[in-house]
């Protein structure tokens, strides 16, 4: 509860600070301090310290899993602020509003990680989505940004409509929005409504996490949005929606007596395939990362697919690993003058620190051992093997992981093995140190993932 209320308050504070504070540096500092505060408060709640005592009538439940996820999402956002805050303020004149919107999105993430009622799921998803439409179009002079925002809005509101219809049908069948009622046997005669409703909710959630075949909006939106916000969208937001999907599946689908696994397996395979294959053909690193985020979503879908302890640990690690690596790569990408692969040629000579850290992030995305990305993929694959069925999916996934090496390593090849003079914006030493710190975190967590996972149990 701490995080939900505080992030909303912080959002409002930042909105007003846009009126009263003129210095961009001050706004950045307020936002970063606010995010740190949010993280602290959430960690405090993990330790059993509640700032607010609100009776949620069981519409929200705060599990260890959800709170740990919040902590990870907030620390990722904090890192995102630390490395990219300057670029956020450079997007347009309304610097404070961008931060405010990000705080509102954090509020939405905190809601979906603890919802226990379909009403709260819907509200959480909308609180995440609506600010994102604005952030996507925040570069007002840029046509691509406007267009992306429009596409995102149309697709997003369409999928919201589908989700609402689904919830309506579930409500018709079960007389309640509470997740606990999902398995109640009242009105068994209306099971058809229930299943149709669940399917519609599932489809709309797949829309939001950009799983194939509902992924087509993703590359355009990620490409068009200002790069800083693409970074935020592709990592923290996507993971947030994933948590909602995992929780939804955990509580309502499993045990509802239907082979949902097969549907998820097919969606997973399609997502992996489309994401990886199309990423190969991209010429722009930004677009490649957009497709790679689809491919990574395919791996995260394993967490939905297998539903056991391994998958819960896996989705936590995946969120962390994927967010760390992608935020890092995007932070470097923003500094590049040229977003194509050729633009990275010879970066190892001009900016060795950026090149080295990017390499570590890319290795993590590809799932090479010694990085957290390996353990993320390991837990996902292990969870699928443990669930026993659909071994073909596991084999398909590793083939796709091997394909992903090809396009991730293209960036490494450009940076290290090709000659050229990669041009970057001026980079401060602090930025370099931050990136190095993130890379170190990727490696340390890649050797001792227990540092994070222990919080799931204690």
């Amino acid at each position: 509860m701490n995080a939900i209320i505080l992030s909303a308050i912080l959002g409002v504070i930042l909105m007003f600070s846009g009126i009263f504070v003129t210095s961009k540096t001050a706004i950045r500092n307020i936002a970063t301090a606010g995010m740190a505060l949010l993280l602290l408060v959430n960690i405090a709640e993990q330790g059993g310290f509640h700032l607010f005592n609100v009776n949620t009538h069981n519409m929200l439940v705060f599990s260890k899993f959800g709170l740990l996820f919040n902590s990870i999402a907030f620390s990722a956002t904090l890192l995102f602020f630390l490395v990219s805050a300057k670029d956020i303020t450079n997007v347009g004149i309304n610097a404070a509003e961008y931060f405010a919107l990000i705080f509102f999105i954090s509020c939405g993430i905190a809601i979906v990680s603890s919802f226990n009622s379909l009403l709260l799921l819907f509200l959480g998803i909308e609180i995440i989505s609506i600010p994102l439409y604005i952030l996507t179009g925040s570069d007002k002079r840029n046509l691509k940004s406007n267009e992306a925002s429009l596409k995102y809005f149309l697709m997003g509101s369409f999928s919201t409509g589908i989700m609402l219809l689904g919830i309506a049908l579930v409500y018709g069948a079960k007389a309640s929005f509470s997740m606990e009622q999902m398995h109640s046997s009242i009105n068994a005669g209306r099971n058809a409504w229930f299943y149709a409703g669940l399917l519609l909710v599932l489809i709309s959630m797949l829309f939001k996490v950009s799983a194939a075949p509902f992924h087509f909006w993703t590359p355009d939106v990620y490409d068009g949005a200002p790069t800083v916000f693409t970074s935020f969208m592709a990592t923290i937001v996507k993971a947030g929606v994933f948590i909602a999907l995992v929780r939804l599946f955990d509580m309502s689908f499993v045990g509802s007596g239907y082979d949902w696994q097969l549907i998820i397996a097919i969606v997973t395979a399609a997502t992996l395939f489309i994401g990886n294959i199309t990423a190969i053909f991209q010429q722009s690193v930004k677009r490649m990362l957009a497709y790679s985020s689809i491919a990574q979503a395919g791996f995260m879908l394993f967490g939905v697919f297998s539903q056991n302890d391994f998958s819960r640990e896996g989705i936590i690690l995946y969120t962390l690993g994927y967010s760390l690596a992608t935020i890092g790569i995007f932070a470097v990408l923003i500094k590049m003058k040229d977003y194509t692969f050729e633009g990275f040629n010879g970066l190892a000579r001009t900016e060795p620190v950026l090149a080295a850290t990017t390499t570590i992030f890319l290795l993590s995305l590809a799932g090479i051992p010694l990085t957290i990305g390996f353990f993320a993929k390991y837990f996902m694959l292990a969870s699928a093997v443990k669930s026993g069925s659909h071994l073909w999916l596991v084999i398909f996934a590793i083939l796709c992981a091997a394909i992903s090496v090809y396009y991730y390593f293209r960036v490494i090849q450009s940076m290290y093995f090709k000659t050229g003079l990669a041009e970057t914006e001026p980079v401060t030493p602090v930025f370099r140190w931050l990136l190095a710190g993130m890379a170190a975190a990727v490696i340390i967590l890649g050797i001792f993932p227990n540092l994070v996972l222990q919080y799931l149990y204690f």
Partner: protein
């Protein structure tokens, strides 16, 4: 009072939903598309209210949900119109066919 059966009302809401969907996919005018989205959301509202009234009249869950939907729809419309105005300023058109900066 309940002379109109539930199925009739569900027919209306389903029809509205698919009209909205049809509009979203075929219209090229951004304002019309926005209206189609609103149509979809409102058809769901009808669903909720009808379910509540006919099936579970002793509680008000469904009606409250529709209140939330109305609020969210208003917020969405506000954002959408802002986006459309912004596009209109640069394109001088509200036809989505003109918004084709990005191709695969």
């Amino acid at each position: 009072m309940s002379s109109i059966p539930l199925t009739h009302i569900l027919f209306v809401s389903t029809a509205l939903f698919f009209i909205g969907m049809y509009g979203l996919f075929t219209r090229r005018n951004m304002i019309t598309m926005l209206m189609s989205v609103e149509l979809i959301l409102n058809s769901v509202n009808i669903n909720f209210v009808a379910f509540n009234k006919y099936l579970y009249p002793d509680k008000l869950d469904g009606i409250f949900f529709s209140l939330f939907i109305i609020t969210i729809a208003a917020a969405e419309a506000a954002v959408a119109i802002a986006i459309i105005i912004n596009l209109y300023r640069s394109h001088h058109s509200i036809d989505v066919e003109d918004a084709t900066e990005m191709k695969y």
